[in-house]
Assembly symmetry: C2
Homo-oligomer: 332 residues x 2
Amino acid sequence: MKIPTPYLMFLGDAPDQLAAKTAAGVAQWRPEWCVGQLRLDGCQADLGLPDKTLQEAAEAGARTLLVGVVNQGGFFNDDWSNTLLAAVDLGYNIASGLHSKLADVPGLADAAAAKGIALFDVRHSTENFDTGKGHKRTGKRFLTVGTDVSVGKMYTSLAVEREMLSRGMKATFRATGQTGIFIAGEGVSVDAVVSDFVSGVAEQLSPDNEPDHWDVVEGQGSLFHAAYAGVTLGLLHGSQPDAVVVCHDPGRPHMRGTPTIPVHSLTETIDVNIAAGRLTNPDIRCIGVAINTSRLSESETADVLGAAEAETGLPAVDPLKNGVARLVDALS
Amino acid sequence: MKIPTPYLMFLGDAPDQLAAKTAAGVAQWRPEWCVGQLRLDGCQADLGLPDKTLQEAAEAGARTLLVGVVNQGGFFNDDWSNTLLAAVDLGYNIASGLHSKLADVPGLADAAAAKGIALFDVRHSTENFDTGKGHKRTGKRFLTVGTDVSVGKMYTSLAVEREMLSRGMKATFRATGQTGIFIAGEGVSVDAVVSDFVSGVAEQLSPDNEPDHWDVVEGQGSLFHAAYAGVTLGLLHGSQPDAVVVCHDPGRPHMRGTPTIPVHSLTETIDVNIAAGRLTNPDIRCIGVAINTSRLSESETADVLGAAEAETGLPAVDPLKNGVARLVDALS
């Protein structure tokens, strides 16, 4: 079931802009779905959207209150709870990316049932999944992979979907994490799924499709991350991509969270992903590199992208600075 | 918390011997923990243990009723429920390997709380886990890996633990699946853990230990299985083994459950496991091969083991027919 749009973005009492990172991603990629933002006293985040009350946003058509913010302490405090209960009373659906569940807010589940509206805890899927089958499916699939975690895989996938659609290609972004789910309106947080079902979930996320349709799957983790490589491998096998792009942040001193493990090279990352991906799609190939150069000067950026092209023999871009046209060109 | 021993093995109305495979594994590896078996009308399985009533087994010292059988339909029928409730009334703890939870038996959770006994659903861990850290731990670790699923990884690990202990070595079997948990009295079903935590669970299962102590970890799945490779990789990274043995069944026409995917060679399996395992333990090496030759004649067995040794340059044994002394020899 898709999350009904448009959204009113709830920022609560976010202590800074970073706490509203998820909401900011949604506002960036789906501005047409965001009718406004609702901020409580002390909120230090701002999405640049008009501030609206629950009543005002409802009148503007908002159908879901989106909790795309990290709260302080990880639970719903009284101010938040009162806002959520008032939203349900006005007929809003509620979608949350928090670890705590909406049903843990006293009275909220009963109120939602009485009103006939839906509560979406996107980190906690209630769907039933099957284990992976490994069968080849019709249609084409694209997946972002990474040298590390948090290197721009979601951003790159969304940029590729946008570029494909702008060319009149058939493409659908497939979300595998919470921000992506809010942006797509649907999807599954694969890292919150029972491990036996990760590749099965990936298969369900990108089902049979028209021969010229591209599922653009949001990658997760890295095959070289000691904590998350299993999630990455299950997603790779289930997505059975025809094409991957390797995403990279050149500023990492080591793998994020594991100081003893170095970041592997682009070619090592490509080789291990291609070798593993061949299990479910022998035709898998890497078609390019996406590098986050946000901390680099113009000349440093040119050096880094040039070095990546020389190392891999593939087009290398910063999706934010250069766009991804050269990556989509490389698909044909 | 360990499952209290000894056990009374509950076989219910198992339709055949295969349905009691889990119980049979426990009876084979921990006969000293099995005071008897309890079979309902129509049970077609037999562990070769004395049949005992709940009362008789309790008097013989049994502390846990072990449900090591697949029931028909996947839920607890009335006959089973009555037995479980009667067991709690007599002070038994109950341990189950079924997908359905013991707490779903009407009245059982309340009865257990009133009696102060424990219900163990070994497929559904209630522990809190952390994500993997990738830090090197003290002590030595051994892990079984496989060309496919169900190729004797648990059996081989248990045989290696037994051989080590018989030589006076320090060794502890670490269980990662339901049968193994009953045999160890503790452990975690890693394929039932949320995917984000698989390598973290593996780290917790084999914590820091004495320099000459071996954790003998039960392997799961295969890096070449389209459904389960992610679980296998997380377990490999978290276990950070110093030594692996590759387990193999020479009779497979293809990977179990995925007819389009062939079984990879022993050397391919070793290479991909060693390459992946180096992320968390650069000193990982494969020290041997364990082959299930149960369907082969004596001369076929000799041929298969000889070919495996020629292919890999490592000792190859059938743990059941030959024992695993040559594998343990290869560790030093």
